[in-house]
């Protein structure tokens, strides 16, 4: 096996993994702040993909602007979903269950909406940048480098916001102790709405980057959602760093796995990896150990 092939796959794995990371960080953000699981996350991804397809491939708007439109629109969609569907459930008993059911409902609704509006066909989105980089005999498409660049910048931006801004302080405070956060002036209901919208926006961004590589269709959110939950659990529920590392790890493991078997096995490999990690560290790589 030529070493270049392995390296190429690792690079690919990191790139795809960084998108998993972006997607998963949205999920982990919601879990961390609201302690709920969002089963509609894949559909925010899917609709982001469709919006980029529509703006760029159909309307011819330049890719950067198309991406921006998609992210902002899905952010707003996230805000609306939170306010309309989730908001009042949170103050009622068994909200951990009712929110899962509600987001599943949103997911089904959005999938069928896309099916109805755009039909079941797969749509292709052209690459934002053409061309291939040749580095030490390894060929990497510029599109993929773009993906890597965007993910690095967004993850860094998220990190910066969480660590160094007043908003980030409020987000972290809500995640760590919602009561105390309220006592010191945090409007946690607004934080919940913002977190949900932000998470949706992140999913849309991931979709915008991946759309040229994978095709756009109403069910494109299903596989990422599954992998997203794998990443979140792998990295430790609620840990932002865990989601990033977990995403990249999953990407690399998958890519290398495909080298030695075939694409159909990629999911099996991913889940086997997850099981092994959880066996050894049930709380995930960066999760907080729960002691009863």
């Amino acid at each position: 096996m030529p070493i270049q092939l392995v390296v190429a796959q690792i690079v690919n794995g990191i790139i795809v993994g960084s998108m998993y990371a972006l997607f998963a960080s949205g999920l982990t953000l919601i879990w961390g702040t609201m302690k709920m699981l969002n089963f509609a996350h894949g559909e925010f991804f899917m609709l982001g993909g469709y919006l980029v397809f529509f703006c760029y491939a159909v309307l011819g708007i330049n890719p950067a602007l198309s991406t921006l439109i998609a992210v902002v629109a899905i952010f707003l969609l996230g805000v609306v979903v939170e306010r309309v569907v989730i908001h009042h459930l949170l103050s009622h008993p068994v909200w951990q269950l009712t929110t899962i059911i509600a987001t599943l409902g949103v997911s089904i609704f959005l999938q069928n909406l896309a099916l109805h509006v755009w039909g079941p066909e797969f749509h292709n989105v052209p690459y934002f940048v053409e061309g291939v980089l040749n580095l030490f005999g390894i060929r990497i498409a510029y599109q993929r480098l773009l993906i890597l660049g965007v993910s690095c910048v967004s993850i860094a931006a998220l990190w910066f916001v969480l660590k160094y801004t007043r908003l980030g302080l409020a987000l972290r405070a809500t995640a760590q102790d919602a009561d105390a956060a309220q006592l010191y002036g945090v409007n946690i209901l607004s934080i919940y709405t913002l977190t949900f919208g932000l998470s949706a926006g992140l999913a849309a961004l991931a979709a915008a980057m991946l759309a040229p590589i994978t095709a756009v269709n109403p069910y494109m959110g299903l596989s990422p959602l599954l992998k997203g939950f794998v990443v979140v659990i792998l990295g430790g529920l609620g840990s932002f760093a865990g989601a990033i590392l977990g995403g990249i790890l999953l990407g690399v493991v998958e890519s290398l796995g495909v080298l030695f078997s075939s694409t159909e096995w990629s999911d099996v490999i991913a889940f086997t990896f997850l099981v092994l990690v959880i066996w050894v560290r049930p709380w995930g790589l960066f999760g907080v150990e729960e002691r009863n």
Partner: protein
């Protein structure tokens, strides 16, 4: 006009009555204690005042403004800081970040830099460990941090829920001294404590709460020899 006036407040946990017709007043710069046995409703009372629990009936006035229906996150702006039972620090934030959170919702956010300096002068132990995660501090340090965090909001009224809980006597003495110091600087203090002796050492006036009912109120001197405190705690 008193700084804080609690008028005939009743609070419930579901169908169970936690507070019945509670009345309480605090004047500016007073230290008032609320004592009572375990389960009396002391914490419920503080949580009702700070807006985490909505009362079923009654009113709470702060400097003349009705606050009983205000959302909890508005009160810090008005000048009420609550140090909750168990301290409730942000465990994965540093001491510095916890202090910043104290000023988050208050007008004092603007001067947060200088405030951190000031507050650390009061609590030198915190200054030494300013970059340390709050979850790794000792019990006494946590109580200091929780109190310092509240001070960052420059409150007019400081409400403390069982600050002595789980602390060694030496540490408790320190905390008490700090409370008196804070009060001397113009902050009114509402001290909720199960430890009656401790609370009565610093407070000018006190209230005795038993199973959700105020059974006694008055100047501290009235409590020191009265059998009613002992009877409330021990039943006979």
């Amino acid at each position: 006009m008193p700084l804080l006036s609690v008028e005939r407040i009743s609070s419930y946990y579901g169908d169970a009555r936690a507070l019945v017709d509670i009345r309480l007043e605090i004047e500016e710069q007073e230290i008032v204690a609320v004592i009572g046995p375990n389960g009396a409703g002391k914490t419920t009372m503080l949580r009702t005042i700070s807006g985490l629990i909505r009362p079923r009936s009654g009113a709470i006035l702060f400097r003349g403004t009705a606050i009983e229906r205000m959302p909890a996150h508005h009160l810090i702006r008005l000048g009420i800081a609550h140090v909750p039972e168990g301290r409730r620090l942000f465990p994965q934030m540093t001491i510095r970040e916890n202090l910043l959170m104290g000023a988050y919702g208050a007008p004092s956010w603007r001067e947060r830099g200088t405030l951190i300096e000031e507050v650390c002068d009061l609590f030198p132990r915190l200054k030494e460990r300013i970059g340390q995660l709050a979850g790794t501090l000792s019990g006494g340090e946590r109580q200091m941090l929780a109190t310092a965090r509240a001070l960052m909001a420059r409150p007019l009224l400081l409400m403390l829920d069982e600050p002595s809980l789980g602390l060694a006597p030496k540490v408790v003495e320190t905390i008490l001294a700090i409370i008196q110091d804070i009060n001397a600087r113009g902050v009114a203090v509402l001290l909720v404590e199960q430890n009656a002796q401790l609370a009565l050492k610093v407070a000018a006036r006190a209230y005795l709460l038993e199973t959700g009912v105020m059974v006694k109120s008055g100047r501290t001197a009235d409590f020191l020899t009265d059998e009613s405190v002992r009877r409330s705690y021990l039943g006979v």
